[in-house]
């Protein structure tokens, strides 16, 4: 809501600049989005008097005007507006002036005719399109006839006012009006405010004989109408138009403008009906019936149902209550009798109606947050008074009232010790009482216990905590001391799982992978790829886009998206890991299980190519090395094995392995299937994904000390030819099993399957290290053990020792 600085000053004797006032409001009440002075940035824009208008000889729409701008000679200005006419007072941007958007106006020629400046529309001097009166929407603006040529236009148009744009939080509906803001400022600055008292002149007949209103108090706790006859529709006076357009409203006519003005001033939305268009003399507040329709003021057509509150006459709905009036009964040319409605509607209904019909209006916004229920009649009276003053209306005697439920004011008891204990302050009872009194509360004291009666307009204050906020903010948060909690000591320590997750990240970073954080919401296709277990998908009911519609059941696709993003930007070497959750859901259960996973993806080279480091494209074994080193860091207890998996649809059938710990599958690794890589528009990429929760839950090995033997080790190398389908794992397992008591380690040092070995065979070579921890090994013992192994390799695996 944009609130006028000048308007505030009419009621409050403030001696602060607009920017300072705005800051004070922000520090004490509600956020301020902006402070705007409409004339800022404009220069040399003055009133002009159009002395003559002639058609341009070379144009069918341009006119050549002589304009008095208060100087000795009139200016010749070429103007293309259709509504330009002799004797108008207009807005002239002089040569050398600046208009909206910092555009500079210079002398020029238009189709050969010199033009010294420009006659402006309101939009051209910065007015938003939607506040410009309709009559001037497509042409220049015509100033009041008494404007003096040569005067700057700003004061005539209210442009020297400062407008403070309040961003009102949902609890502070009371701040959506001048009066609400004044009440707060009165407390903030500790200054009195003098509010107007409406004085209605009821010159007509009794309203009760002309109109009856009926309402369900559950839908409308208050419902009132006044009737004004003999209304003469006309444009509003300038001062009123200025108030409206500065607040962001388009001036329409005096009657409609009055309802908007009263809403701005009191916060009470009003609606003006053309009484003569009612069918019958009864007005009902009721829920809509299925099948009823309403065309609203904005010409929108709405199908109604029994969730909607409508205002209806004998025949049909005439307004969507608290949201927008109907077109059929709107104030229009020819309207002479106006029924003014002032009501309180139940906020939930209004909120839902505004949502359902996508009609978020200033009225609905105020009803949703709650209006001042003690001020409904006052606002109605003020409107009626203005209808007489500005439209010559004859206010009929009395107000018809359907419901009149004004809530009782909240009464809250609070103690001084509680206030100071929660705020951490040492406020005196006088200070607190004064603050609450300036806010309009009545305070009575019994010892240190205060009984506080809260004004009805502050519908956000119900409990002691609400009063604490009022006291704290008016006292000023700056004055609060800054301390740290005291009391019983507590331990701050990460859990085992948290420590392991941190260790996981550090380990993988140490191994060269960068941490990525990708989107957990993805497409249905991607959510279902690289699955480690069967699961139903979990879909958003109303996603914003198909790209983020389903919860991921793998981490890898997010990393592949990241690689694609890098790749599209010519970043070819990418090594990423991500630690995050996947979401598995069982059929028939709405809420998925969240499982921590850890995944990695590498494309290009892991190490950047350099002058002393030739490019080494990432391969299976490099990633396996990373996975193995990581699992070693995590000290999982049990053998880690890798078993070829030919069946994962998204993975290369010959370059994928399941990762098992102690026989349990905890994840997989390998090359992304080239078809999938192509789908993601990425090059050869190697990935792994592990169930991190499983790793967290597994038993771990503690670090332990093993004596380093003082006795020398002896090594023997063995090279062999075996069939292609014999795996390294088989050979190592056999050597370890048959290697004897002194075999310490088996290390593969060569693999060859090139042209020098027969087809279907491969050559493998291992170093076997023997050591006795307690004595020097005898060569013979080693030879014996070694020969035994060689024989076993030949017998069991058909190896040909070379």
């Amino acid at each position: 809501m944009k609130i006028s600085y000048n308007w505030i000053k009419e009621y409050l004797d403030l001696n602060v600049k607009p920017a300072d006032l705005a800051e004070k409001i922000e520090r004490t009440s509600v956020e301020v989005d902006d402070v705007i002075k409409p004339s800022d940035g404009l220069k040399k824009i003055v009133v002009g008097h159009v002395l003559s208008v002639e058609a341009h000889p070379d144009s069918d729409h341009l006119h050549i005007c002589q304009v008095d701008v208060g100087e000795d000679e009139p200016l010749q200005i070429v103007c293309g507006a259709p509504n330009i006419a002799k004797d108008q007072k207009v807005i002239v941007a002089l040569p050398g002036s600046r208009i909206a958007d910092n555009v500079k106006i210079k002398k020029s020629k238009m189709r050969g005719v010199p033009s010294a400046g420009m006659i402006c529309a309101l939009q051209e001097i910065g007015f938003p399109e939607d506040v410009v009166p309709k009559a001037y929407a497509d042409g220049i603006y015509v100033m009041p006839a008494d404007a003096t040529p040569g005067d700057a236009v700003y004061d005539y148009l209210g442009m020297n006012d400062s407008l403070i744009d309040l961003d009102v939080t949902p609890n502070r509906g009371d701040m959506l009006s001048l009066y609400g803001t004044l009440h707060d400022l009165s407390a903030i600055y500790d200054l009195p405010v003098k509010f107007d008292q409406p004085a209605v002149k009821e010159t007509g007949a009794a309203i009760a004989d002309q109109l009856t209103v009926h309402a369900d108090a559950a839908l409308a706790p208050q419902y009132r109408m006044r009737l004004v006859k003999q209304v003469k529709l006309a444009p509003s006076p300038m001062w009123l138009q200025i108030r409206l357009w500065n607040a962001g409203y388009r001036p329409i006519n005096n009657v409609v403008d009055i309802t908007n003005y009263i809403m701005l001033k009191y916060g009470q939305p009003l609606h003006a009906f053309d009484y003569d268009k009612f069918s019958g003399q009864d007005v009902y507040v009721r829920t809509a019936k299925a099948g009823e329709k309403l065309t609203t003021l904005d010409e929108g057509e709405h199908d109604l149902d029994d969730h909607d509150i409508v205002i209806a006459d004998d025949q049909k709905p005439i307004a969507l209550a608290g949201v927008m009036g109907g077109l059929d009964t709107a104030i229009a040319d020819g309207t002479v009798t106006v029924a003014i409605e002032a009501a309180v509607f139940e906020h939930d209904h209004i909120r839902k109606a505004a949502q359902r019909h996508n009609l978020h209006t200033d009225a609905s916004q105020r009803f949703e947050r709650g209006v001042n229920q003690a001020g409904v009649q006052e606002a109605l009276d003020a409107a009626a008074e203005m209808m007489t003053d500005l439209a010559g209306g004859e206010v009929q005697a009395g107000t018809v009232v359907a419901t009149d439920n004004v809530p009782a004011p909240a009464v809250i008891t609070i103690t001084m010790s509680h206030i100071n204990a929660v705020l951490g302050t040492e406020l005196s009872q006088d200070q607190v009482t004064h603050i609450l009194t300036t806010l309009g509360c009545e305070v009575t004291a019994d010892g240190e216990t205060l009984t506080v009666t809260v004004p009805v307009r502050r519908n956000d204050i119900h409990i002691p905590a609400d009063l604490l906020e009022e006291i704290a903010r008016i006292y000023s948060y700056d004055e609060l001391p800054a301390t740290l909690p005291t009391g019983r000591m507590t331990m701050g320590e990460l859990t085992t799982a948290q420590k392991l997750m941190r260790a996981t990240r550090h380990s993988l970073e140490g191994l060269g992978l960068n941490q990525a954080i990708s989107y957990a919401l993805t497409t249905e296709d991607k959510a279902k790829m690289f699955m480690m277990q069967a699961s139903e998908t979990t879909k958003l009911a109303w996603p914003m886009s198909v790209d983020h519609a389903v919860l991921r059941m793998n981490i890898i696709t997010g990393l592949l998206d990241d690689i694609a993003y890098n790749s599209a930007r010519k970043v070819k070497d990418v090594a990423l890991y991500e630690q995050g959750r996947v979401f598995y859901r069982e059929d028939g259960v709405d809420r998925p299980n969240e499982q921590e996973h850890i995944a990695g993806a590498i494309t290009g080279t892991l190490l950047p190519t350099a002058w002393d480091l030739p490019a080494q494209p990432v391969d299976f074994y490099q990633v396996k090395g990373i996975v193995a080193a990581y699992l070693k860091d995590m000290a999982v207890n049990g053998d880690v094995t890798y078993v070829a998996n030919h069946d994962m649809p998204e993975m290369h059938p010959g370059r994928t392995a399941d990762i098992l710990v102690h026989g349990h599958r905890i994840g997989f690794m390998g090359q992304v299937h080239p078809t999938i890589a192509k789908q993601f528009k990425i090059g050869a990429t190697y990935v792994f994904e592990l169930n991190l929760q499983a790793i967290i839950d597994m038993p771990k090995q503690e670090n332990q000390y093993d004596v380093i033997s003082r006795y020398p080790a002896i090594t023997r190398d063995v090279a062999m030819l075996v069939d292609d389908d014999i795996t390294n794992e088989q050979i190592v397992a056999l050597i370890e099993k048959r290697g004897g008591a002194f075999l310490q380690s088996v290390k593969l040092f060569d693999v060859y399957d090139g042209v020098k070995v027969p087809k279907g065979k491969k050559s493998l070579a291992y170093t076997l290290t023997y050591q006795d921890k307690h004595a020097t090994l005898v060569d013979d013992a080693v030879t014996q053990a070694f020969e035994k192994v060689e024989k076993r390799l030949q017998d069991d695996l058909g190896a040909e020792i070379r």
Binding site: E26, A482, G492, Q498, A610
Partner: protein, 348 residues
């Protein structure tokens, strides 16, 4: 010529030869020719038996002196020559030390993670626990128990990704307040926790909005926790993350789960509080929301608000990172451009 004179002459000649020797081989030859068994000194000493018994020890001592002197000179010359050889070799081995070092595999933590870790470590040090909650939440915890009943107008403030009517992507880490309050045993001590995590909002991604971002919730509940404690705690947080020069101010705000509710601003990074474009000339930047936990929240979780109370706060690591490093587009955090990730390498 006396023996002594001979020895003196030998000495002078020897020193000259040693000095002349050009390499280790020369040195060796000189050594053999001077001090060897067939060398001149040995020969001179053989002539000693012709001397008087009185003269003999004097000349002998002199001869030994000469020999030691020459031996030392030889050793010194040898060392000089050895050093020269070594130095020549090392000179040959010189490399261009300005060539770049061999790359090593080194990954970096995500900038958001760094901020979360920093916050965690700060609060661990102050005796807080770190808790994590579900990302797919029940409406009950995300809203209802946070004092946001269905149809509460504030629910419009945060558009929600619903999965079913009752299940949703959490819009905030605040549900962890309700979850921990429900289970905390106050007889074991006060509740002091932070809860970092991912949250989701029904937003269209653009430079300042992301449908996924992070929050760290903080909650302290005990018998005597004050709003001044909240202010002090937020000050410590601001100092940890941004530096001691940064001040914190509180402004009124509205959250259904706190009362009083405040927004906390910190001194603008860009201008240090003088006022600039970044802070819209206020000198302050809004960084987090906080407040004293609403009695309804305590009551709904089974905690007696007449006995216990305290504060809660929620901070956005994404926003912190954007402010701290001037990151102009929040999407950078989730697109994982390596050139972005590699910019935040400072450790400790």
């Amino acid at each position: 010529m006396s023996l002594k004179d001979k020895l003196t002459e030998l000495h002078d000649r020897g020193l000259a030869e040693i000095k002349k020797s050009a390499d280790l081989k020369d040195v060796n030859q000189v050594r053999v020719s001077l001090l060897g068994k067939k060398g001149p000194i040995t020969e001179v000493l053989r002539g000693m038996r012709d001397l008087d018994a009185e003269e003999r020890p004097k000349v002998g001592a002199f001869a030994n002196e000469i020999r030691d002197d020459l031996t030392a000179a030889l050793a010194k010359r040898r060392e000089e020559l050895e050093n020269a050889v070594l130095n020549a070799k090392l000179a040959n081995e010189a490399i261009d030390v300005t060539l770049p070092g061999t790359p090593v595999a080194k990954g970096e933590p995500h900038v958001i993670q760094q901020i979360i870790d920093q916050i965690e470590d700060l609060f661990l040090g102050m005796g807080y626990q770190v808790l994590s909650g579900p990302e797919v939440e029940e409406d009950k915890y995300n809203f209802e128990m946070m004092n946001l009943p269905k149809n509460h107008p504030a629910r419009d403030m945060q558009d929600t990704f619903y999965i079913t009517k009752e299940i949703l992507m959490r819009t905030q880490t605040s549900p962890m307040q309700a979850r921990t309050l429900e289970t905390h045993d106050f007889s074991q001590g006060p509740l002091k926790m932070i809860s970092p995590g991912v949250v989701y909002r029904r937003d269209t991604d653009d430079p300042t909005h992301s449908h996924q971002f992070h929050q760290v919730e903080g909650l302290v509940i005990d018998k005597h926790i004050t709003m001044a404690d909240l202010k002090g705690t937020l000050q410590v947080l601001a100092h940890e993350l941004f530096g001691d020069k940064f001040d914190v101010r509180l402004r009124p705000s509205y959250f259904p789960f706190t009362e009083p509710s405040v927004e906390a601003d910190i001194t603008c990074f860009n201008c240090g509080g003088k006022g600039c474009k970044v802070c819209k000339n206020t000198g302050w930047i809004e960084v987090l929301g906080a407040g004293m936990v609403h009695p309804n929240v305590l009551r709904m979780a089974g905690v007696d608000p007449d006995v216990y109370g305290g504060f809660a706060f929620g901070v956005g690591p994404d926003r912190f990172a954007m402010l701290k490093y001037g990151v102009d587009d929040i999407r950078n955090f989730y697109l994982n451009d390596v050139r972005f990730l590699k910019q935040f390498t400072k450790k400790g």
